[in-house]
């Protein structure tokens, strides 16, 4: 048999190990929550990934049609349970947009302070579990120790550690307790060195760079086309942050605050001076960038929290009183997206003039971020799947609603 020069595409290797259908989840340690990934693998190479969601579906939107607008707040902070405050803020702003309700100055600054602290907590969970996905346990413990401090602060503010229902329509439930601001200041001061430790442990770690550089590369066009938002979109180089470029109703909360949007412009990130530079092996839009964007956003959030505390001290007293349950909503509909830690969390409220909204719709950021996973994981190795899913930082409560 004469084997003439054959075009490599045609020459098919006959050593095909039979393709294995492997189930990763829904009770798998590395899928964040009840996500089931069916992997079609050929040996170690993943041919195709089919995500199955819906294991945590409670149909919160149907319940929204039978409750007064303010009574749905507790349902919103169970969607992204790692950033409850940002969810409450999203729904509160949407209904205020429908009502055209103004919020007093002190409440606005308080909202920025609490939302940014919750963003730090959510990014800490993302960084910690990402270290866990790649095998190093120690950063996970350091991240959760810092997050505990933030949860203690929240517990003193609203009594809850995870599901707060603190930010409501018309302002916030209650003002800060005495001495809270000094404790918050003390936390921020003690938090800076921990960021450097995390960078030392994870970002500049050669093995982590090898495990994440060039893996799961998401091009800007694909990111926009799949509707990815937040750190996932910014890591692909799209300079878009709703706190600066959003609707007036969303940017109104952040008027007067100076901060940087973390997106790579020609090879450098804004204000990344003290932190490790971008290594050469990484490609724009890969897992490493998504991780690094979150680490820099935490620094911006610390700056924002400090500015919010100063504004709060200077603002007149009075944090506004929550909407009365019997207040009728004007007929019409309003849709608003706010910058949640995981991406843009959109809420739509349609009302027919009664106190109960006709339709309450929640658009989840992780829902769109997760839809990219089958595109990113095609042809990677099995060990890369948790790395990619971890870098997208998804929460199943938010996806399944």
């Amino acid at each position: 048999m004469v084997l003439e020069r054959v075009d490599p595409e045609l020459a098919e290797f006959d050593v095909h190990t039979d393709e294995l259908l492997v189930n990763m989840g829904p009770q798998h340690p590395s899928t964040h929550g009840v996500l089931r990934l069916v992997l079609r693998t050929d040996g170690e190479v993943v041919k195709e990934v089919i995500p199955h969601i819906g294991y945590l579906h409670r149909c919160a939107e149907k319940i929204g049609e039978n409750l007064a607008a303010r009574q749905w707040i507790p349902y919103t902070d169970r969607m992204d349970y790692l950033a409850g405050m940002n969810m409450n803020l999203g729904w509160a702003l949407t209904v205020e947009k429908l009502l055209g309700l103004e919020v007093p100055e002190r409440a606005r600054h308080l909202r920025v302070l609490i939302a940014e602290l919750n963003r730090i907590a959510s990014h800490l969970v993302a960084a910690g579990t990402y270290g866990l996905d790649l095998g190093s346990f120690t950063p996970f413990v350091h991240c959760f120790r810092e997050r505990e401090k933030i949860l203690d602060l929240f517990e003193r503010v609203c009594g809850a550690r995870l599901t707060y229902s603190y930010i409501t329509i018309g302002g916030v439930m209650a003002d800060l307790p005495r001495g809270w601001l000094d404790e918050c200041e003390a936390f921020l001061v003690s938090f800076e060195p921990v960021i450097d430790d995390l960078h030392a442990l994870l970002t500049s770690n050669a093995i982590l760079i090898h495990r994440t550089a060039g893996i799961g590369v998401l091009s800007p066009e694909m990111a926009v086309s799949y509707g990815c938002t937040g750190p996932v979109l910014r890591a692909s180089g799209v300079n878009w942050d709703l706190r600066r470029d959003g609707e007036p109703w969303c940017t109104r909360t952040y008027v007067g605050y100076k901060f940087e949007v973390i997106a790579e412009t020609d090879g450098r990130y804004p204000q990344d001076a003290p932190y490790p530079p971008v290594p050469s092996a990484v490609v724009l839009g890969d897992c490493w960038h998504r991780f690094y964007v979150r680490m820099l956003e935490v620094v911006q959030s610390v700056k924002l929290a400090r500015q919010a505390m100063d504004y709060y001290r200077k603002s007149p007293p009075g944090v506004g009183e929550p909407l009365r349950l019997v207040q009728k909503l004007p007929k019409g509909e309003a849709y608003l997206e706010t910058e949640a830690p995981k991406g843009q969390m959109g809420f739509m409220v349609v009302s027919d003039g009664t106190t109960v909204p006709w339709r309450a719709r929640a658009r989840s950021s992780s829902f769109c971020n997760l839809s990219v996973v089958s595109e990113l994981c095609r042809g990677c190795l099995i060990a890369d799947v948790p790395a990619i899913v971890g870098s997208l930082d998804i929460v199943l409560g938010e996806i399944d609603r």
Partner: protein, 174 residues
């Protein structure tokens, strides 16, 4: 570019597609005929001045007043709402497609809307969710199956006249 200007531009290029609009609403929206939806969307995305490159969300809203005591301002219909925005020009637009609750009013026949999943990839999952929860069939969708409810679930929960099933695989419903 605000919504009236966008509406003007749309009317010039695809006059037939636009079936109405409401510019006074909090989020001004434009109503599009179901048949012309893909053409309008492709124009909105590819037109240089418009460049609506991000589809934020597709939602299904069911307008049917089930409570006899209350009078209903709307005659029963189904709306599919598209929220678009352009990251380039930073403007927003809301498209609406008004559909009868059942296809030519036959109980159980889901209304039809052409898919836009080939224009924006995010529509793929959003349309599956609207099909799953609100009961709208999207023609040309690559893989239209339920996304949140179990595959063999009966009925579409977000419809106003939805009745929770008595039992599901032995689990008591009502």
């Amino acid at each position: 570019m605000d919504t009236p200007a966008i509406l003007e531009k749309l009317k010039q290029n695809i006059g037939s597609g636009i079936a109405g609009s409401n510019l006074e609403a909090i989020d001004p929206w434009v109503e599009v005929a179901p048949g012309a939806l893909p053409e309008v969307c492709r124009f909105l995305r590819d037109e240089p001045e418009l460049r609506f490159n991000m589809l934020h969300c597709i939602s299904g809203v069911d307008y049917l007043q089930t409570d006899p005591k209350k009078k209903s301002e709307w005659e029963p219909h189904l709306e599919v709402v598209y929220h678009l925005s352009s990251l380039v020009h930073r403007h927003r637009l809301v498209l609406k497609v008004i559909l009868p609750r059942w296809k030519d009013n036959v109980e159980g026949q889901l209304p039809e809307v052409p898919t836009v999943s080939d224009i924006w990839r995010t529509a793929d999952w959003h349309e599956r969710e609207v099909y799953d929860l609100s009961g709208v069939r999207f023609q040309g969708h690559p893989d239209l199956r339920r996304i949140l409810c179990p595959e063999d679930w009966v009925g579409h929960p977000l419809r106003k006249d939805y009745q929770m099933p008595l039992e599901y695989h032995g689990i008591r419903g009502r």
